[in-house]
Point group: C2
Chain length 345, copies 2
């Protein structure tokens, strides 16, 4: 006999939330109501949610992702609102990166009994804010008890029209590499948090921390890239070099990055000077910006800038200044250590 021996250590107190009541003080339907009151949907509440498609030729697009407390977020770095906000963004980014239009969200929560209920309501408010941002709906989910706080998010979207979805296998040689948002800001924000703590961030650098804790990609960019002819797309979640290496190897091409386009901006330079770090580590290996990276024949695409080009397959998947980047770095879901230590994710 070898009975399961769950931990019952509970969780340390969380700053800024009243310690009681906690999850363990509520029944399942009451806990569900704390979330659905903030993010209501007529499609929620049955065994499964039925999703109508916008037109007869539409296809459904689906992705799922998990956030583990202490690994993907920390209570002393991020508020519950920010955890909810980011949980939506990082999942919807994967829908958007297919060139699809986001549509619905499901939320599977495994919660410690000792988690303050105020954390849940703040978390739900962060979820709801991003539901508004993307014009999508929370249509279902599941709540259960666990010693580790684990947040599972499933996002769906739709893709219409005759053009194919934008996969990591669709890149061709002789095209442009486009990017739609900041690169390296999230990793710099995490290093600032590790160094200064949340309450002592230099005010001028607060945008980097916000970019880490609550990234806010402009909505609609993925569909724009698809409309203007992009054939491959991903978001930089695990680090620029790592994510582009996936596109290059899966598509059978080489990607050449333009060094000028990857120069650290003043915010990154300021943070690097203060922390005594090389800002290129953030830019090349940081990840978690959820910035779209697209390969397209079209240089001019609304909201995107050119950061490189694609070549026929060469000796290396990625070139920077004529040679492969020094380290492939980046985030590995299994091998990388948690948010509490470098390397970044």
């Amino acid at each position: 006999m070898n009975p399961a021996t769950p931990h019952h250590a509970g969780i340390p107190p969380i700053p800024d939330y009243p310690a009681t009541p906690t999850v363990g003080d509520f029944a399942e339907h009451e806990l569900i109501a704390t979330i659905t009151d903030i993010a209501p949907s007529a499609r929620n509440g049955d065994d499964a949610a039925v999703i109508d498609l916008p037109n007869p030729a539409a296809r459904s697009v689906i992705t799922t992702d998990t956030l583990v407390c202490g690994r993907h977020f920390r209570h002393d770095f991020s508020t519950a609102y920010e955890v909810g906000h980011k949980a939506v963004v990082q999942n919807v980014a994967d829908i958007v990166a297919m060139g699809a239009t986001p549509q619905a969200l499901l939320l599977a929560l495994a919660l410690p009994r000792t988690l303050p209920i105020a954390w849940i309501t703040d978390f739900a408010s962060g979820i709801a804010a991003m539901l508004d941002h993307y014009a999508i709906e929370l249509v279902g989910g599941d709540i259960t008890i666990s010693d580790t706080l684990v947040i599972g998010v499933t996002a769906t979207g739709t893709i219409t029209g005759p053009k194919p979805p934008l996969t990591v296998t669709g890149a061709r040689a002789g095209q442009h590499l486009l990017a739609s948002g900041a690169i390296g800001h999230s990793a710099a924000g995490l290093d600032l948090l590790s160094h200064f703590g949340r309450n002592h961030i230099p005010p001028a650098l607060a945008p980097l921390v916000t970019h880490h804790c609550a990234p806010r990609p402009a909505p609609g960019r993925g569909a724009v890239a698809r409309a203007t002819g992009a054939s491959a797309m991903t978001d930089n979640s695990d680090g620029l070099i790592r994510d582009l290496t996936v596109i290059a190897t899966r598509s059978g091409i080489t990607i050449e990055l333009y060094p000028d386009a990857l120069q650290p901006d003043p915010l990154l330079q300021h943070a690097a000077t203060l922390l005594g770090k090389d800002p290129q580590t953030w830019t090349l290996h940081g990840g978690e910006d959820h910035t779209l990276l697209a390969v397209s024949p079209t240089e001019q695409t609304h909201g995107f800038r050119v950061i490189g080009k694609t070549l026929p397959k060469g000796q290396h998947p990625i070139l920077l200044n004529g040679k492969p980047p020094a380290s492939t770095g980046g985030w590995d879901s299994i091998r990388s250590t948690s948010h509490t230590q470098t390397p970044h994710r």
Copy 2:
């Protein structure tokens, strides 16, 4: 400052699996390959999976569910194969209960570093067996590290034709209550496991334990119920009375159960005698059989039997022998204690 302090206690050894190698010995793409080698799909491997619908009028149906080790399963009660098997069944049951046809699965795993890799491959084989059973595909997912083993499953399905999906709000008075499989077997199996341990189950009662660890509902029954006119359906996951109470209250009716149709069968009687328990506790409050419960004007529906009828809304949502059942019992995801103790889930 209040840094997250994850547990690093690891997990106790799991019977029948070699202790090494473990999850921590592999990179993310290697771990993903241990699963996709066993359950391959051309749609897997991108940011999100694109799902074509079978015809232009089809709607998409989606559900998600979480299994936490020590709460929803125990290593000394269930093999990894059975955990994988049941993870698929309990999610697909929610798709089937809408009258939909299952289509695709996503798997989000949060794994302790110390989990033997042999557990993962056996788990994936159990998943794959049920993918075959339902003729569906594993199209995506996510793997990360957690001190608690948490399995998140998302299932999708499609619903076609002009009839509405079968919701918990669709029941009307003056109809039949139908059931499609065993009721109470899973709870009896769990009690047998708790009493005898997995290796000392009386052979004649092994089917009850199998029903608990690896339930196998006949596929296609949900679509049959919808085709023959059922208007409401659910599966008994939390206990017969609890699940029927949801239909009765949400639909605004009363459900009268036929006592003769709920008599314990010889297997339940045998187990009850051996354990000195009242078999009606299993039947009325056990749950986890994932048996379909449908309200339909049609008495004769392939694979279903009549176990009650619906009445205009009365004083109580459920009647048995003319009065409400003694206890509403059943499983509450938050309040109920884990699988290691009664009450059942």
